[in-house]
């Protein structure tokens, strides 16, 4: 294992494995885009590319919060329900004006995240179970708000709120810009602040982080609050885009978010991961869906088969590369 005993060749292999592990998804994304560009004439059209970016943005916002949570060694299963709840609250709030449409879902979704964090950090319960419970809770709250899903809140066509989802700047959708801003802020938060360092430290070795005097509980509570808030933001954007609060969205979104985070190179064991990787993971997922749609003759159900297979391939490769590096 020591550097002295390793021959230069195996050292180089280990370095290559490291690069592949970190950048593999990006390489696949670039190759995939190039292939799609040549194979499908419609793929490279500005319309399609704009659509690709817009479709990616909703999941990207959720996955951003999930990246923080997973780097800390946790998991947040409640984001899908929280996302749907946020959308319904935004559409409901829109009748009282733009401010309510934004603040109401943000407040409720952050609160759910905060309670998740509080339970996880203060009682030592497993994140998996706590957020599983809040998945049920948020979905229940959503159903209660919409009288068992029967009521759909429509946003008035003239509402300024709609600009958030349907507006464009230089032809590109507003959600795309917002997503990029959030990712830039997220990157700064993760890489340039004490909070970000604590997240990595907790994910790497929680006991040591505690012994080092890091504010473990406070950081965890903030993390889950952040994840809840971002799910709320995604809900707001989706409601503005669809012009209504749709009760049936968000089922399984937590798993999509986890998949793209993992595909992006963040380790589920915690302690390592990048924001950019998550963005790459989201784009790859949208690319796969887009390509399957372009093929047209292919059963659209293959989307999930390919997504599942792709997730698996990425994880297996990550695992094998990790092994070859430690050898």
């Amino acid at each position: 294992m020591t550097a002295q005993s390793a021959t230069p060749v195996t050292e180089r292999n280990a370095a290559l494995a490291g690069v592949l592990q970190r950048q593999g998804a990006a390489v696949v994304l670039v190759l995939g885009i190039a292939a799609a560009w040549f194979a499908f004439p419609r793929f490279g059209s500005p319309d399609n590319l704009r659509d690709l970016a817009l479709q990616s943005s909703f999941l990207a916002v959720i996955a951003l919060g999930m990246t923080f949570v997973i780097i800390s060694g946790g998991i947040d299963l409640s984001v899908g329900s929280n996302y749907a709840l946020g959308g319904v609250l935004a559409a409901y709030g829109a009748q009282y004006g733009l401010v309510v449409a934004i603040l109401l879902p943000l407040a409720v979704c952050s609160l759910i995240g905060f309670v998740n964090g509080l339970l996880i950090a203060r009682t030592g319960m497993a994140p998996f179970i706590v957020t599983l419970a809040s998945l049920l809770f948020a979905r229940g709250l959503l159903l209660a708000l919409t009288s068992e899903g029967a009521t759909t809140y429509k946003v008035d066509a003239g509402s300024a709120f709609l600009w958030l989802g349907q507006g464009t700047i230089f032809g590109i959708g507003v959600p795309v810009y917002l997503t990029l801003v959030l990712f830039a802020l997220g990157g700064l938060l993760l890489r340039r602040t004490r909070f970000g360092q604590s997240v990595f430290a907790i994910g790497g070795a929680e006991q040591s982080a505690l012994l080092m005097g890091l504010p473990v509980a406070r950081t965890k509570i903030s993390l889950y609050t952040l994840s809840g808030a971002l799910a709320g933001v995604a809900g707001i954007l989706t409601a503005a885009y669809l012009q209504s609060g749709v009760t049936v969205i968000g089922v399984g979104t937590e798993l999509d978010a986890i998949s793209v985070v993992v595909i992006g190179g963040t380790l589920l064991t915690g302690g390592a991961g990048t924001i950019v990787g998550t963005l790459v993971g989201v784009l790859l997922r949208t690319l796969i869906q887009n390509v399957i749609n372009q093929i047209g003759t292919l059963d659209s159900n293959y989307q999930t088969v390919v997504s599942g297979a792709f997730l698996l391939v990425v994880v297996v490769i990550q695992r094998l590369l990790a092994r070859s590096r430690t050898r």
């Binding site: 497993a126 998996f128 179970i129 998945l135 229940g140 209660a144 798993l255 059963d299 599942g308 695992r319």
Partner: protein, 316 residues
């Protein structure tokens, strides 16, 4: 330790061991007194039949959780089993059932191999099958719901023997088998050891990898059985909706039943009662005209309370 904290620890330990049974009894008594038409054979039948598929899936899940794993793929495995049924019913219902269960076993082998031999975390290994499995089921079924008319096959979900629904008998037999496996077999002892301390089990020369593959195979097979039974009861193969969120229901039943997520302990009877409890909670709320939404929120609260109580043992 002061007397007060000692008392509290005793109460907690008692609740951990018997809480789920107590909760089922209390809820039954509540319903007998306050719910109209609760004390009827027809109602008990309905409750048991509705709890049966969750119970069967939860038994497999309990074994997996006993090894400190988790199986998120169970719902998708159910849908694969459902999708295969109409394709093979022409060759007889036994053939269809065997094919469906084999598909469950193959799914389990797949997850187990990833977990045991490639060292991939259970949550991710089974997440891939959760995502891809339902897609596969939909591809097999061309996304269609198929009505079933084969009498033999429908008998499974609707028929009974000596007044007891066949579904309930199957669930009960499987629960007894699971109990025997955990308590009386080498495999069961190995399973608990692997969940308690995997490194030590490896050093002690236990067949860790084979045990891990084994539990995922059992879980896959049981999920397929639940898929077959649910399909028969519905009289339709519905790969779109069958087993959706089943992983969550099964995990809840296991955890509420007192099996810790940290592995090393499997409570089979607790799991059965966990499934019954969740069914009873749901039925109680519905019968008192509380909507589904409230039922979900109450379930969420129960999960948190159950895990909060269970947590104290592991931290002691």
């Amino acid at each position: 330790m002061s007397t007060a904290t000692l008392e509290r620890a005793k109460v907690t330990a008692w609740l951990q061991d018997y809480g789920v049974y107590l909760a089922v009894v209390v809820l039954l008594l509540f319903n007998v007194v306050f719910t109209e038409n609760f004390l009827s054979a027809a109602n008990f039948r309905t409750q048991l039949v509705q709890a049966a598929p969750v119970c069967i899936v939860a038994l497999g899940m309990a074994l997996v959780i006993g090894t400190e794993g988790i199986d998120l793929s169970v719902g998708s495995v159910m849908s694969i089993a459902a999708a295969l049924i109409p394709l093979y019913l022409g060759a007889g219902s036994l053939t269809a059932i065997v094919v469906a269960v084999l598909a469950g076993i193959v799914s389990g082998l797949f997850s187990g191999y990833l977990v045991a031999y490639l060292g991939i975390q259970p949550i991710i290994a089974t997440l891939a099958l959760l995502v891809g499995g339902r897609g596969l089921a939909l591809v097999i079924a061309h996304g269609q719901l198929v009505q079933l008319h084969n009498r033999d096959f429908l008998e499974l979900g609707t028929g009974d023997v000596l007044g007891v629904p066949i579904m309930v008998i199957v669930a009960a037999v499987l629960a007894v088998l699971a109990g025997l496996v955990v308590q009386r077999t080498t495999f069961g002892r190995h399973l608990v050891a692997v969940g308690g301390n995997r490194a030590a089990s490896t050093l002690a020369g236990l067949p860790v990898k084979r045990v891990l593959v084994g539990v995922y195979v059992i879980s896959g097979a049981l999920a397929a059985v639940a898929g077959v039974l649910a399909t028969s009861r519905l009289a339709a193969s519905d790969p779109n909706d069958l087993g959706l969120l089943m992983e969550l229901s099964a995990i809840t039943a296991v955890v509420v039943g007192g099996t810790p997520l940290s592995g090393g302990r499997v409570r089979v009877l607790g799991t059965v009662f966990g499934a019954l409890l969740m069914q009873l909670v749901h039925a109680t709320l519905i019968k008192h005209n509380l909507p589904d939404s409230t039922a979900q929120m109450v379930q969420a609260a129960i999960i948190v309370v159950a895990v909060y109580v269970a947590r104290e043992r592991s931290s002691r």
